[in-house]
Every structure is written in C-alpha cells, then in structure tokens.
Point group: C2
Chain length 186, copies 2
Amino acid sequence: MTQSKTDPRVLRTRKLIMDSFIELSGKKEFKDITVKDITSEAKINRATFYYHFEDIYDLLDKILSEVLLINLNAIDFEKSELNEASIIDIFVAITDFQRALSNRCHRGYDETIARIIREQLEIIFYGMLRKQHTTEEDESLKITAVILSWGVYGASVEWRRNCKESSPEAFIKSAIPFLMSGIEHV
Amino acid sequence: MTQSKTDPRVLRTRKLIMDSFIELSGKKEFKDITVKDITSEAKINRATFYYHFEDIYDLLDKILSEVLLINLNAIDFEKSELNEASIIDIFVAITDFQRALSNRCHRGYDETIARIIREQLEIIFYGMLRKQHTTEEDESLKITAVILSWGVYGASVEWRRNCKESSPEAFIKSAIPFLMSGIEHV
DNA sequence: TTCGATTTGTCGTTTATGCAACACATTGAT
DNA sequence: ATCAATGTGTTGCATAAACGACAAATCGAA
C-alpha cells in the first residue's frame, strides 16, 4: 500500500526489455536469444540489462510470472476463499495461460514455465490458507500450500497430455474431493 | 557525416515528448496545451522538458521543422539545381505540408508555421545557391535566398487563399519567370 | 584439438533524467 | 479587485542509464 513509486526510468527500461524479449521470442527459440539481441532490439545498453536482471533466465522468470499474474489477477484472491469454486478458477487460469504460451511460439522453456507456475500457485494458496486459518502454525500451512501447488500443477500437465477432449472445469472437478479433504484437514 | 551518435536516452526522450505533443494537439488547440500536459502524458519529468527545449514554442518549432523537412527531403537538394523544376517541387512540398497540417487540427499556429516554413526555405535556397555560385560573395547570395523564401512562401499563401481551383504546379509556374530572373541576376 | 569470434558478466566514469523546492507569472472564480 | 490555484522556468542533488573496457566463458569452424 505504502509502496513509494518506483522511478519512471526503471519502468520504461523494464518495459523496453520485456517487450523486446517478447518480440524476439516470436522469431527465435529461447536458447537462441542472447542478451545482446535483447538490448540492441530495445536500444538500451547491455550493462543496463544487468542492472535490472541477473541474466536471461531471470528475465524469463519475471516475464512469465507477470503474464501469469495477469491471468490470475482476474480472480480476486483478496476476497475469495479457498474452496471448490476458486480452485476451479485457478485451474482454468493456468490452462488458459499455457495455451496462450504455446500459441506464441514459446518452446523449449517447459521446465522454467513449470517452476514458475508452481511457485506462483504456492504463493497464492499459502496466502489464501493463511487468511482462513490465522490460528494455525505457519509450517503446517506452508506444506499444505506446497502439496496443493504441486497437485494442481500436475493436474494441468495431465490434462494437457491426455484429457483435452474434456473441459478443464470438468477435469479438475474430479480431483476436487481429494484436494478439498487435504485443505480441510489442516 | 562524422556526427558522433547522440545518446539513445536523448532520442527516446525527445520522441516521447514529440509524440505526446502530437497526441495532445489532436485533442486541444495549441494555446491550451501546457508543458505540464506534455510531460505527464509522456511520463517524463517537467525539468527534463526544459533540458531539451527552451519552451513550448521551441518544441513546436522543432516538431514542425522536422515534419516539413520530411516533406522536403523527398526532394534531393544535394543533387538538384535551383531551376524551374526544383522550385516547383519545393512549392508543391509546401502546399502538401500545409494541407497535412490543416487536416490534423492544427489551428491557431499560423504565424509560427509561417515563420518556420520561411526559415526552412531560406536555408534550402541559400544552400542551393552557394553550390551554384561558389565564386559569389555570401551576402549577395543570402539576400537572394531571403527574397526567394519570402516570395515562394507568399505565393503559397496566395494559392491557399484564392487559387485552389488551379493545381499548385500550374500556379507557381506563372511566377517562375520572375523568380528565375532574380536567381540568374545574382 | 586449436584458434578466432562472439557472448557474458562486471567495473569505473560520464551523462541524462528524476525529484523537490523555489520565486514568479497567469488564470479563474468570487 | 482579490485570492487561491495552476503553470512556468530554474536550481541542486540523487540516481538510472550510457559507454568503453576488461577477463572469462562459450561457440564454431578449420
């Protein structure tokens, strides 16, 4: 809330870098994109790139997190509870996100994408759990969030692999009882 | 030719400012556009504006000069001589330029536009004259360029006011004998 | 393998931009 | 006419970005 505004120069530069990366990833595969490519496309100095990002993997991290967050932000986690409905919403958001990625020539990032999605899920689940169980100890909530995040992410992998003929909503519903029992068990 | 590249930050910032001004001038009249409007639209600091431009009139100057130059650059002055054909080309470029301006809601700038066009014309005529008369003294060429620039600009005013039914080419052709005699008299 | 070319991180220095504050001018409503 | 609000142009200082250089790593072709 009280976040002091970040320097507009930083916002501009980050946007330039991210836009250039997205532009380039429409032409080349990830492994062929160099930092030099990005900075000359963005017309910024290469040293400036390293001022904002550790390396090209860090950039990918932050871009994907941001894109995923935009998808997930449609769901208002501040208000919604961790129940059947919100789990379905989140699952649909993830499958939408992955579909968007595969439409945009993002190939060869699979492991990175997986990690990012799972990490984001963990953060979200942990936040929601803590709101509902303010009395519980943190460790217990944390491990629940971890297991949930892996489980839901795994479900999305499974859906993409085998079950595209059924809707994501229908697919995740079959897993809801198991997930919810774990949540209520905390 | 040996111009050392200007700092990319400068180019970016100037473009931000100019684009914002052009954007704003589609919504308001010139007299209603403030420096603050421009800088907040461009998301740059107001002090940065004054780093690049003296004031809002200076900005208008440079924007219009640039737009006019793009029109005029279609004509290759480095190669062409100051003769009947090139005068016609220049006259047509000016009338095109003014038509483009009036299409884009630029009202109330008339005096400024007039000055800028005339100054540009003077620069161009002087440059062309000097290439053809390397032996002549500068002062003589300069005054010729001044008179030519006023004359050709005045012709464009006259054409806009009374003679739009005839083509600009036909219109300026009737003035060519007078202009050329002045040029050859140097 | 080896060698040249390219890329990667990092550093120190210079320059452009951000920011807050200022006195002054202009505007607009009462 | 007055007063508050807004815009103007300027300044000093803080910080991001540019630039050039560098050693090390990686890549590619002979």
